[in-house]
Symmetry: D3
Subunit: 319 residues, 6 copies
C-alpha cells in the first residue's frame, strides 16, 4: 500500500539518513554458522543472595546499545562494517534455579563447540551465570584464563545457599574449570570481602588487584600485567565484568553498590585494550539490576563497555 | 539447530500452554484488506498545551494489552477466536506539528476508504489527534456521531495556540465535520471548564452530561440515552475516550488529573455497552502520559477499555 | 519597548482569552480592610509527631488552585466575579516551635479583630496550627463551633510531646476556647485512635461520627445534623479539614495515610453544603505533606475543597 | 545508669502514655505452647512467574501493623487485652525454591500439630506458599475449606514452570489436600484468567464469585453464602487473601495489578465477618511486593485486614 | 498594618541578615537600556528529537541560582555589588515550533541591537534555540566565534526532521551566520556521533576536541588554545553549553546522558576562564530536562556555570 | 523446639559462615563502663533551616554499616576482633528543639565524664547537634580541637533563627567551648558562604581550606598540616563530617547539595589517616537526609567513613 508513507512498525525510532546506529549492525541469528561477535542473554537473577532484578538487564543493555552510533570519533573507526549476531535469550525455568544454570551451560557449550568462531558477549543476569558460562566456554576453548572486574572475590562456600551470585569463582576453581593462577581479580574493595575468602583466593594463587592497587598504579599497567601473565599460560581469555566494580556514583544500578569503586573510564579503557588482543575471546556483563538503576545509567555504561570491546577488536581487525 | 531447546527470541515472556493471551490474537498487518478490529498508533503530544509524554502511550497500552488473557469470565466469552490487526504507528514529524496532524488524517482516511470493514482503535497521543482522526473517519463513514468521555469540552479557541489538545471538538464543529447535535460529552467536571466554552457547546446543541449527572443518574441510563439519541441521526458512531474523565485516583497518569472524576468501572461498563452496537465503528483513547503514571495503571485501564469494547463486539458477533 | 511582543514574565502559564482561572481572581492584599475570602498560609510542620513536610502545602495548594477555572458547570455559577485576597504566609521561627504557633495566633487574632468581614481560609501546615488558629478566630467571633473532618480525635495529652499535630483539640477544650458540645468530629477511623482518647471526647460531650457512621448514613444526613446542632448554640462555625480523613487511595499525600477512609466526593459535597451557610465563617486545610504525595493529588483535592466552599458561599451570595 | 533519662534503644518510636499500639500486644514467641493468634512470615517470592519482591512483605506488613492502635472505635472493642505471638520468619533457601516451599510445609505442620490452639496468620511471600501452608494446616486440622480472595484462579498446570505463584490451588486439588467443593474463590476478574482454567475449577466443583458477582450482590451476601456452604462440610476454614483481588487504585503494590477489582472496604468487612466464626482458624496474606508499592499502602491495607480479623475474633471471644 | 510583623509574601525563603543571595542581585528589567548581565529564558523543547522537558529548565536554573550566595571564597570576590537583569521568558507558541524559534531570534536581535552593552545569558530550552539565539547575537555583534561544550556535533541534516535540537550548528554554518573556522567543539564523545557528521565538521574546518583530547590534555590548555585561535579572528565570542557534555553521573538530567563525559569541575574552570575575557559576550545553557533530573542536580550545576562566568567577568571588572 | 530448624527471628539476613559482618561486632550497651568505640544517635533535624529528614540518618547509617564485612583487604586488617558498643539514640522532644539539643549535651557529657575511655561516634541528625555534642565532649576532654569537613562555615548569626544547623561553630566559638585557632575547616565551597561569615572565621583565626585548596594541594598534605597544627595545642581532637562536603554526584542525599565538592575517596583517606592518631577521640557524621537520597548512597558512604576511621584506630591498636 504505497499510499501510506507514514505508517510504520510500532515504536520505530527517529531515523537520520546520515547516522548508522548500533541497531543497524545487530541482526537476528538465522541458525547458520556464527562468525564474529554475537550477543546472548542469560536473564537469571533468582540465584542472587539479595533481591535482584538483574534478569531485566539483557533487555536494558540491548536497548541502550541499539541507540548509540557505530562511530568512534576518538579512534576514527566505524563499526558500521561489522555484523553483530543477536542469538536471543536463554529461557529460564520459573522455579528450578539449578536447571536454569544448567541451561546456560548447555546452550553455551553446544553453541561454542559448533561455532568455534563465535565471539560471545553474554548479557547477565547475576554473577551466578558466570560458572555455567565459563564452563561452557572452556568446553570449546581449552585452557581458559579469566580477567574479572569485581568488587568481590565471589568465592563463597556452597553450603550456605547453593550456587548463587556469590559463588561462581569458587565453583570454577573447585571444579578445576579454571586454575587459580589463571584468574585475575581487579577492583576488590575494602570491607566488602571476608578474610577467609581472601585467604582462599590467595591459597589458590589467584591474582588480586584491590582498589588501593587501582588507585596507586595506572589501570593500563594493571591490565597489561594481567594480560601478559595470562597470555602465555592459557588458550583463551574470558573477560567477566561485574558492574559493581565501578563506583556507586557511576554505576548506581547494581545490587551491591558502595563508595570507593573504580572510575568508569578506567573500566572502559581496560576493556578497549583487552579487545585488541586475539586471545580475548569472550565477554560477559553481570549484576545490573535495572529496577533500582537511575535512568538506565548502568546499562548505558554496559553498552559502552561492549562498544569499547568491539572497538578494540575492530581496530586490530579481529572481527 | 534442534539441540538448542532453550534459546528463544529476546524478551520472550513466560508461556503457559493453557492460556491464550491478547498478544496471541494480535497480528502485524500484511497490507491486505482489513476486516474487523485493527490498532493504529498516533504518537503525537507536542501539540499539548502543557508538557505531555502522551506520545509514549501507544507503546504502554499495547504492552498492557498484550499481557491480558483473552477470556472474559464475567460473560463467558473468549476472544481467542478473533484476530486483531496491528497496523503500527503513524510516523510523526519532529518539528512540524500540523504536518503530523495531517499525517493522522491522511493515513486514517486512506485506510478507511480502502478498508470500509476496518474497525479502527486509535491509540493516542494527546487529544489533538481527535480532529484529524474523526475527519478521516468521517471521510469514509458519512454522518458521524461522537460520544466523548472527557472532563473537558475541548472547544478552545484556535487563536491562542493553534490546533492543540484543547481544541479538537472546536475544529470538528467549525469545520462541520460533525454537527453539535451529534456530539455527546460525558463526565464534564466542575472548575475544569470555562463559562464561554460551556456557552459555546450549548449554543451548538451539544449534549453535555456533567459529573453531577453521572453521580445522580446511572451510567447505563446516560449511555443508553446517548446512543439512542445518536443512532437514528448518524451513519456511524465514534467513541472518544480522554482518560482524564476518570478520577485521579484511578487514572493517575493523565496530564490534567483531578478529583471528582468518573469511576473506572462506569467507563468500562459504558464502553462494553457501546461495543455491543453495530453503529459504533471506531474507538480512540487519548491523553495518557506514561512518564507521569504510576506503574502504567492508566494504560492498564486503557487496555481494559479496549477489551470491554471487544467483548461487546464479540458478544454480538460484530467482529 | 513595544517591539518585544513575546517577552513576558518568567514562568507565565499559557493564557486562553476565553478562560478565567482562579489565579485571575486572587489578588495580593494591599493592607486595606479585608472583605470576603482571604487566603493565609501557616507553613508549620516541625510540630508534627512524625516527620512531615506539611510546611510546603500552602505553596502546592495555591499552585493547584491557581490553575483551575472559576466556572462550576455543575451549578452554573462563575466565581469570576469575586475577589480572593492573598494575605501571604505567616513567617515561622526556625527553631522555636511554640513561638511559631504563637505567631499564628497573634496574626489571626489581630487580622480578624480588625477585619470582621474577612472569611479566612487557612492553609496549613500540620494540625498543630488548629489551636492557635481557632483561638485567634474565637477572639473575634465569640462562641465558636467546629466541624472537624479527621481520621483522628487529636486530643492527645500534652505531657508526652508538647503542643503537636496530635493535640489541637485537647488544647482547645482544656483552654475552654471551644466547648465539647460545639465540636463535631467526622470520619474517625478504626485502629487509629486509642480508647482513652475516645473516652476523653465522650466525657467532653464531643459529637463523633466514625467511618462506620459515614458508610451507613449518607454524608448529607451527617452534615445537616451537625450543622443543625451547632447553628443555634454558637456564633460562628469553623471548618477544619485534616485531609487524612479521606481514603489513602484518594489522598495519598498525608503523613498518616490508611485504608477505610472517606470518599473524596463526600468531603467535597459536605464542604459545598457548609459553604452555603452564613454561620460558617472559616475554613482550614491541614496535614498535606507534598513531599510524599503523588503528583500533588492531595493538594489538588484541597483546591477543590476550597472551590466547593466558595461555590457554596457564592451561590448564596455570602461572598 | 539512671542519669541518662533520654538514652533509648535505637529507632524507638514516639510513645504516648494514653495509646496502646499493636506493637505493645505482639510478643516474640518464647517456645512455649502457643495459644491464640501468632504471626509467621514466609518470605518467598523467587517462585513467582513475574519478578516479585513479595519476600519483603512480612517486614512491611509487620511495620504497618505495629504502628496502629489496638482500639476499634467502630465496635468499641480494644485488642489491648490480647497477646499476639510473633513466631518469626521461615528461613528460605537461597537457590533451592522447592526446598524453601518444603520448609514452609515442615514448619507449619510441626507447629500446628504441637500447638492445636495456635491461630496462624501467615505473611507471604507470593501465592506459592499457599500450597505448603494449607498442606501443613490440613495436617493438623482435618478436612479444610478455603475461602480465597483473588483476581485469579491460580490453578495453572505444573508442567510449564513448576510450583509457582500461579499453581497453588492446582496443587491443593491434585494432591487432594482440599476438595474442590471446599474451595470458594471470590473476586475472579475479567481477562485475567483463561478459559481452560475456568473449566478446570468448574469441573472440580469450585465455587467462583467473579467481580461481576461482587458488583451485583453485596459482599455480605457472598461471604455469608460461602461460609454457610463450608461450615457443615469441613472441620476448619482457612482464609487466603491475595491482595491483588483489590482494585489497583487501592492496592497498588501487587505484581499483577489492574482495574476492575474489589473495593478495599468490602474485603475488610468480609474478613471481619469471617473472624467472628470459630471454624475460621487460619489467615494468610500474599502477593504484596513492597518494592513497587506506593508508601506501603498495600501493606497498610494488609495490616487492616489482620486487625479486622482480630476484631471479629475478639468480639466473639474466640481469642 | 504595622502590627503584623510575621505576615510576609507567600513562599518567602529564610533570610539571614549576613548573607547576600544571588536572588538579591537579580532585578526584573524595567525596560530601560540594559547594561551588563541579563538573563533571558527560551523555554522551548518541542523541537527535540527525543521527548524533552527542557522547557522547564529556565525555571529550575533560576531557582537554583537564586539560592546561592554571591560570595566566591576561592577568589575572594563578592558579586553583591553587581546587578543582573531578569528579562523574563520568550513566549513560545503552543503548536508552531518554527514560529517559536523565530520569536527567539526576533527577541534577541531586537534586544541586542538596542542594547549593545547587554551581556546575555540565555537559558534554554533545547539546543534548537542555539541557531536563532546566535543569529540574533550575530545581528548585533558582527563576526561571531562560538565555543561549544557538547557531546555531539549537532550538525544533522535538516531533511529528516527539520530544525531540531540536533541541527543548530548545521543551520549556523549553512546560513553562514558563523564560519566553520570560528566554531570550536569541546567534549565530542565516542559512539555518540556519526562519521558523516564528523566528516562534515571536518570539511568545514571546525575545531574539534574529543573527550579523548580532554582526558589527555588539560582543560586549561584546550580552552586557552581555543580562545587564542578565535580572539583575533572574530568580533565577539559566544559560549554555548550543552550540559550533556558533562558525565552522566554529574549531569544526570540531560536527555542524552551517557558515560565517558567531561568532569563538571573542568567545565566550571573553563567557563570561569572564558568569563575573564572581554571578547566573550554571550553565554547559553541548553539541554537540561528537569523532569528526569535527580534533585535538580543539573540545574544546580548550570547555576554554578553562570556564577563562574560572572566571577570571571567581575574579577576583570568587565561587569 | 529443636524440630524447627528454619524458624528464625524476623528479617534475619542471609548468613555465610565464612563472613564476619560489622553487625557481628556491634553489641547493645549493657550499662557497664564503656571501653573503645561506641555509636550514639542524635536524630534531630527539626533544627534545620531548610526541611530535613536527617533524623532518619542514624537508622540508615546503622543499617548500611551492619551489612559490610569487617575485613579491610587494602590493609589486611580484620575488625572482627573489636567490639563496637551500640548506645542507642538520644530521645528527642517532639516540639521543643532547644530541649532536644540540651539532651544531646546532657547525655554526651554525662556519658563521657563517666566513661573517659569511650570513643564516641555520633550519628546525626543535622549539624545543630555539633554544638551540644562538642560541648559535652569538651566537658570531659579539656581543650578540644575540631577538624570539620563541610562545604559551609556554619557560623551564622543566632538572631535570625536561633541555634540551627547553620550556627554550630558560631555557638562553639562564642561560648569559648573551642578557640578559633583550634578549628580547621576543610572543603569550604564557592558561592555557598557569605563574605561576612568568611570575615568572621578569619577574624577568629580559624584555619580554612577551600575546595580550591583541596583541588590544588593533596588531601594528605592538608590533613597532615591540620593535624600537626592541632596536635600540640589541644588535648583532644574531634572530627566533624558534614557529608555535604562531598560532591553532589557522590553524596546526593544531603539537604544542601551542589557541584564542585570533595571527592569521596579523599574524605575516606583523610578519615583513615585521622583514625591512626590517638589524639583523635571523637567522630560525628551529620546532614544526611535519607528521604531525598538515592538508594542510601550517602549513608553507605557514611558507613565507609566510620569503617575507615576504625581501620585507622585498629591498625595502630588504639582500639
Ligand atoms: Ca560484585
Ligand atoms: Ca560478582
Ligand atoms: Ca480532558
Ligand atoms: Ca480532552
Ligand atoms: Ca488526622
Ligand atoms: Ca488531625
Ligand atoms: Ca492473584
Ligand atoms: Ca493468587
Ligand atoms: Ca549534546
Ligand atoms: Ca547539543
Ligand atoms: Ca554543610
Ligand atoms: Ca554544616
Amino acid at each position: 500500500m504505497k499510499q501510506l508513507p507514514y505508517l510504520q512498525k510500532a515504536n520505530t525510532p527517529f531515523r537520520d539518513r546520515d547516522v548508522t546506529k548500533v541497531a543497524d549492525i545487530i541482526h537476528d541469528w538465522n541458525g547458520d554458522k556464527i562468525n564474529g561477535v554475537g550477543l546472548i542473554g542469560a536473564p537469571l537473577s533468582k540465584s542472587s543472595i539479595s533481591h535482584s532484578g538483574a534478569c531485566f538487564a539483557p533487555g536494558t543493555i540491548r536497548k541502550a546499545l541499539a541507540g548509540y552510533s557505530t562511530y568512534s570519533i576518538e579512534e576514527k573507526v566505524d563499526l558500521a562494517e561489522i555484523v553483530v549476531q543477536e542469538l536471543g535469550d536463554i529461557m529460564m525455568h520459573v522455579t528450578n534455579i539449578s536447571e536454569s544454570q544448567n541451561r546456560v551451560y548447555e546452550t553455551l557449550s553446544q553453541l561454542l563447540v559448533k561455532n568455534p568462531d563465535w565471539l560471545p558477549i553474554v548479557l547477565g543476569g547475576d554473577n551466578s551465570i558466570t560458572y555455567p558460562s565459563i564452563k561452557g566456554f572452556a568446553q570449546a576453548k581449552g585452557k581458559v584464563g579469566v580477567i574479572q572486574f569485581d568488587a568481590h572475590h565471589d568465592v563463597r562456600n556452597l553450603e550456605d545457599g547453593g550456587p548463587s551470585n556469590g559463588t561462581p569463582f569458587r565453583s570454577l576453581l573447585e571444579s578445576k574449570t579454571i586454575e587459580g593462577e589463571h584468574l585475575v581479580q581487579i577492583g576488590i574493595r575494602d570491607f566488602s570481602n571476608s578474610k577467609p575468602y581472601y585467604d582462599y583466593v590467595n591459597k589458590n594463587s589467584v591474582t588480586v588487584y584491590t582498589m588501593k592497587d587501582v588507585r596507586r598504579m595506572s589501570m593500563m599497567q594493571i591490565i597489561q600485567e594481567s594480560l601478559k601473565k595470562l597470555k602465555d599460560q592459557v588458550d583463551s581469555v574470558y573477560v567477566s565484568v561485574d558492574m559493581d566494580v565501578v563506583d556507586q556514583a557511576q554505576a548506581p544500578g547494581c545490587p551491591a553498590i558502595g563508595p570507593g569503586g573504580m572510575d568508569a573510564q578506567d573500566l572502559l579503557d581496560a576493556v578497549a585494550f583487552l579487545g585488541e588482543h586475539s586471545v580475548v575471546e569472550g565477554l560477559e556483563i553481570v549484576e545490573i539490576d535495572p529496577t533500582v538503576d537511575f535512568r538506565d545509567m548502568t546499562s548505558r555504561l554496559a553498552a559502552h563497555v561492549i562498544l569499547q570491546f568491539l572497538k578494540g577488536k575492530f581496530k586490530k581487525r579481529l572481527i
